[in-house]
Amino acid sequence: MAEIGKTKLDSGWLAARSTEIDLTGIQLTTTHPPAGPSSPWMEAVVPGTVLGTLLKNNHVPDPFYGLENEAIIDIADSGREYYTFWFFTTFPCKLSGNQHVDLNFRAINYSAEVYLNGHKKLLPKGMFRRHSLDVTDILHPDSQNLLAVLVYPPDNPGTIPPEGGQGGDHEIGKDVAAQYVEGWDWMTPIRDRNTGIWDEVSISVTGPVKITDPHLVSSFFDDYKRVYLHTTTELENKSAWVAECSLSIQVTTELEGNICLV
């Protein structure tokens, strides 16, 4: 039985340039998974960007030193496919009856295709949005689960004019993404426009009912002597029958160490 809660997937990732992989996501996550960090696959930095992974593997010079950034090909010259990358990992997850699992991406830049054990799901565009996929029915109960993610750069990466400038040619402003990546008066452009799985990846195991995005609000009266805590939460019943729930809220003052005052 898997433990209730969140497990981060932040190790053991591999990456490869999409143009160097002839296999499909379904083949990568069923019959032909990569064996390890042997070319064209390499160890990947997740969470992180494509450039972070290329730097970790010494495929590019460190853009933070000297004029090294000039030695890295810009996405405007290489084309988007050059920075479109596969990321691959495996993870175990043994569920018991009536447990459910979500695969969560806290942020992707800019869009992606997810393949898990031969099943495909899409992560729509947008750098600043979370994605949560219910994968309960497609997990392998007794063996590793194979996960491959094909990550695409922003739609409008833009071109850096010879004179540079704030936001380059401003094309990146057409997308919902960080705009500094085309360069600004205080910095040079980021060659991959920060493409990648740039924030936390996790799986979260719950029972039939899941807590989503609680909202905590405080209101104050009588010169801050009388205070109320208002709490709203979303609950999702993933099972096929009515769930009789007991919902508890507890507020504690975490003192030093693990001593709690209730």
Partner: protein, 229 residues
């Protein structure tokens, strides 16, 4: 007294929204910005148990009791801030992001943000050309008392004021912009350090986006009228 349990039935394959009856606190420890007092944090935990199954899910978040107000001062045209009813002189710094390759780490956030607190700052402004900062960034701002001014992803240069003028109507997909904004608000809204959402840098977002943001982010009418005796 700060433990409360409610019972409810959730129909199959359904998502419901539930609001607890408010919890009362008498003179709780308040959360103060750096230099004004302690950054008192409570741990709020929510668990759901399902009959015939047991504990189904749990969630917890550090929470600080604080009231942040800000308004434009007619005399100076500047924005004045109050925390817990006390005016505060803002000493702030600009923030783009930790690292151009997005190598973001708790250790780096803790170091950078403690550095700002040690410099006697009490606000960090997250510039609109950078990121909606991450929960780990806000966690350390909660701990060290740095108020956060968080801009959405609009800049004068890329959205209608650059040379040449570009994207006068902002991003191509306004619905996508609002979807990302709403999800970002849900991700960050429980952090006591979050002081102000700002449409963009040196530029007002396109009219429809600006109106939606203002509408979504105004204080819920319930809290204007609520004053339980």
């Amino acid at each position: 007294e700060h433990l409360q349990t409610q019972h409810l039935s959730v129909p199959p394959s359904t998502q419901v929204q539930f609001t607890f009856p408010e919890l009362f606190f008498y003179k709780p420890n308040l959360w103060w910005p750096n230099g004004m007092g302690k950054q008192s944090l409570y741990k709020v935990g929510i668990t759901v148990e399902v009959k015939g199954y047991g504990e189904s899910d749990s969630w917890s978040h550090p929470f600080g009791f604080r009231k942040i107000e800000s308004y434009i001062d007619d005399g100076t045209g500047g924005r004045l801030f109050k925390v817990n009813g006390q005016p505060i002189f803002i000493r702030g710094g600009n923030w783009i992001l930790s690292d151009g390759l997005l190598r973001l780490s708790k250790k780096r956030y803790k170091t950078d943000i403690k550095f700002h607190a040690d410099m006697n700052f009490n606000m960090i402004r997250c510039w609109g050309g950078g990121l909606a900062e991450r929960p780990e960034f806000y966690h350390y701002c909660d701990i060290y008392g740095l108020l956060v001014w968080q801009e959405f992803w609009i800049t004068g240069d890329c959205d209608g004021r650059g040379i040449p003028v570009s994207n006068p109507n902002g991003p191509l997909d306004h619905d996508l912009f609002m979807l990302c904004a709403r999800d970002t608000v849900k991700l960050l809204r429980n952090h006591p350090s979050l002081a102000l959402w700002v449409g963009g840098n040196e530029q007002t977002p396109p009219e429809d986006i600006n109106t939606s943001l203002k509408n979504d982010l105004k204080l819920h009418p319930y809290f204007r009228s609520f004053n339980k005796i």
